[in-house]
């Protein structure tokens, strides 16, 4: 990595490096903010990782005064679907235009209590997290810092691109079917989806409540562990959060995987995978072997059913969650046709017809269909049953193996516009990430190489529920013995 000189390049450093320098009074928090501001000014007109605010770091109100904690004076970028008290949170959707939440999400409260600085602007995303490319945003697409003609992945594409371009130190995203891990893979950063129930969802604007989790996007695994220490834990405001002690995740960063048993799922290396990605991931598996792990082929036989199950379960839950956007309590209300204005139902229809983007409409209608009379058994109930089979596949492997290692995505970042008119093709780019959400298990993506065109490839590690320490152990060991996480894109 370029060794930053004392003050000017603070934005390229990790939170852990900054914390060390803040502790020795070598630097101040305003110097970090100035460095970020300068970088955002220099590159965000091209990358477009942030939305709405031109000057995102100039907001002293976003830090609790006088608080010191694990993230004191560290700025953090937040995805546009996580509620921040008084700061616009719009899910990058016209229908939430102007929405300023009257409260903080639990993760934001925790970050503030740890001394972190919440950036005023939010990071770009697919509308309501519906997408895999950050093209479905009412603010327009984010671009991949490694190749501006390519997508950053999605839906947390803004968070991943901001971290990759050094426009952020660290960021929060959300992952319903791969929305943290796939953009982490496409942008060459570290992205973690925690176990379902590990991190409170209170204040995360719901997409699919049985799948959603908030998680970190960071420059390395150490920062990921540090951020997980802060945001994890039981929250009485989220009835699906689990009352289970949070370990110190940084203690799992041991640089030792000797004797670990790692399963390599054969179904993740067949149909649809780019041969170059496959070769890079196979090399990474060899690396893990050389570091002392024993890697063995395993089978997750229901893998091919994960995408169809997901697009029933996730859309069904979304159709119900998004019923609240009706032009009454918040956000946009359509003016509508004059004679129709008289009717409440027509106000709903117009508001939702004009306020939601294409993909949101597609998913709400698909989900409503799957739940509607006469189709419920054929689609929704069937999907829930196959979800059981997918979970059992993982249970079986984890009874014999410490973790699973696989590609994060079947390809590197694709070009902007390439899949936007073919929803099914877009859905298949989540083929390796969706299963972890359906099974509720944690998974991390770490950089594992570059394709010939210079775009990053991600390695995914999956573990049993509440196995985050195993993820950190394996991902950190791999990271510390490879150079990939130190590479930086040249945005031009």
């Amino acid at each position: 990595m370029n060794k930053p000189d004392a003050k000017s390049n603070l934005n390229i450093m990790t939170a852990c490096e900054l914390i060390k320098r803040l502790g020795s009074k070598e630097i101040t928090s305003s110097q970090i903010l100035s460095a970020l501001q300068a970088k955002i000014k220099e590159t965000d007109a091209k990358v477009k990782a942030y939305v709405r605010v031109a000057n995102p770091v100039d907001n002293p109100k976003t830090q609790k005064p006088g608080v010191s904690g694990a993230l004191s004076d560290i700025p953090i970028a937040i995805k546009d679907n996580i509620c921040t008290d008084g700061l616009n949170t719009e899910c990058c959707s016209k229908i939430l235009e102007g929405f300023k939440p009257p409260y903080d999400a639990t993760v934001i409260e925790k970050l503030k209590a740890a001394g972190a600085i919440i950036l005023e602007t939010k990071t770009n995303m697919d509308e309501f997290a519906f997408g895999s490319s950050t093209e479905n945003s009412c603010f327009g697409p984010t671009r991949n810092p490694w190749g501006l003609e390519c997508v950053p992945g999605g839906s947390s594409g803004g968070s991943a691109a901001a971290v990759a371009a050094d426009e952020a130190i660290m960021a929060l995203g959300s992952d319903t079917g791969g929305s943290i891990r796939q953009p982490a893979s496409f942008c060459g950063v570290v992205g973690l989806k925690p176990t379902y129930g590990r991190v409170s969802r209170y204040g995360l604007i719901a997409f699919a409540s049985s799948l959603d989790q908030i998680g970190p996007l960071t420059k390395d695994t150490r920062d990921s562990a540090l951020l997980m220490n802060v945001i994890s834990g039981y929250d009485p405001k989220d009835s699906t959060s689990v009352n289970k002690e949070v370990p110190d995740y940084t203690k799992a960063l041991t640089n030792d995987i000797k004797g670990l048993k790692i399963g390599i799922p054969k179904e993740y290396f067949i149909e649809g995978i780019d041969p170059e990605v496959k070769a890079i991931v196979v090399d990474a598996v060899e690396k893990l072997k050389s570091l002392g792990a024993s890697c063995q082929e395993v089978s997750l036989p229901h893998t091919e059913y994960a995408v169809p199950v997901y697009y029933i379960v996730a859309t069904a839950e979304a159709s119900s969650n998004l019923a609240r956007f009706d032009g009454v309590q918040y956000g946009y209300r359509a003016e509508g046709v004059k004679e129709k204005l008289q009717s409440l139902i027509n106000m709903y229809n117009n508001t939702r017809g004009k306020g939601f983007g294409e993909e949101a409409k597609r998913r709400i209608i698909l989900g409503t269909f799957a739940l509607s009379h006469g189709y419920y058994d054929a689609y929704y109930l069937k999907a829930l049953k196959v979800r059981t089979l997918i979970k059992q596949d993982f249970d079986k492997v984890f009874s014999q193996f410490d973790c699973i290692v696989a590609p994060t995505a079947p390809t590197v970042a694709f070009r902007i516009g390439e899949k936007i008119n073919d929803p099914l093709k877009m859905y298949l780019s989540d083929i390796y990430t969706i299963s972890a959400n359906l099974a509720g298990i944690p998974a991390i993506s770490v950089p594992c190489g570059f394709a010939k065109n210079g775009l990053p490839v991600g390695l995914q590690v999956l573990a049993k529920p509440f196995g985050e320490e195993m993820l950190f152990r394996v991902a950190h060991t791999y990271e510390q013995n490879t150079p990939w996480h130190l590479e930086k894109p040249k945005v031009s």
Binding site: G197, T240, N350, K354, A439
Partner: protein, 95 residues
């Protein structure tokens, strides 16, 4: 099983989403493709499998029914497109 234009129109109505004619046309085709793909699930024998609607073994999470501070009215209404005298305002429902 598949989906035709009339069904899409009906489901859009259930969803309270007004679709322009060209949107209806496009969505009908796309939803048909997606559902054809999803029909792959029919290959599986699942009669005796229990459904998983939720991954955690927790249910009926209850809390003490004790009074707490709630949002003040002004704050709750702050984001409303139209409000009056402490209420959300919607188009007239009854003439």
């Amino acid at each position: 099983m598949s989906i035709d234009k009339d069904t899409v129109k009906y489901v859009a109505h259930l969803s309270r989403i007004e679709l322009a004619p060209e949107e209806l046309e496009m969505l009908s085709g796309q939803l048909k493709d997606i559902l054809d793909f999803i029909d792959k699930l029919s290959k599986l024998e699942i009669k005796d499998i229990q459904p998983t609607s939720h991954i955690l073994p927790i249910n009926n999470v209850l809390r003490e029914d004790s009074p707490r501070e709630s949002l003040p009215v002004a704050k709750a209404l702050a984001n409303a497109p139209q409000k009056s005298e402490g209420f959300f305002v919607v188009p007239k429902v009854i003439e």
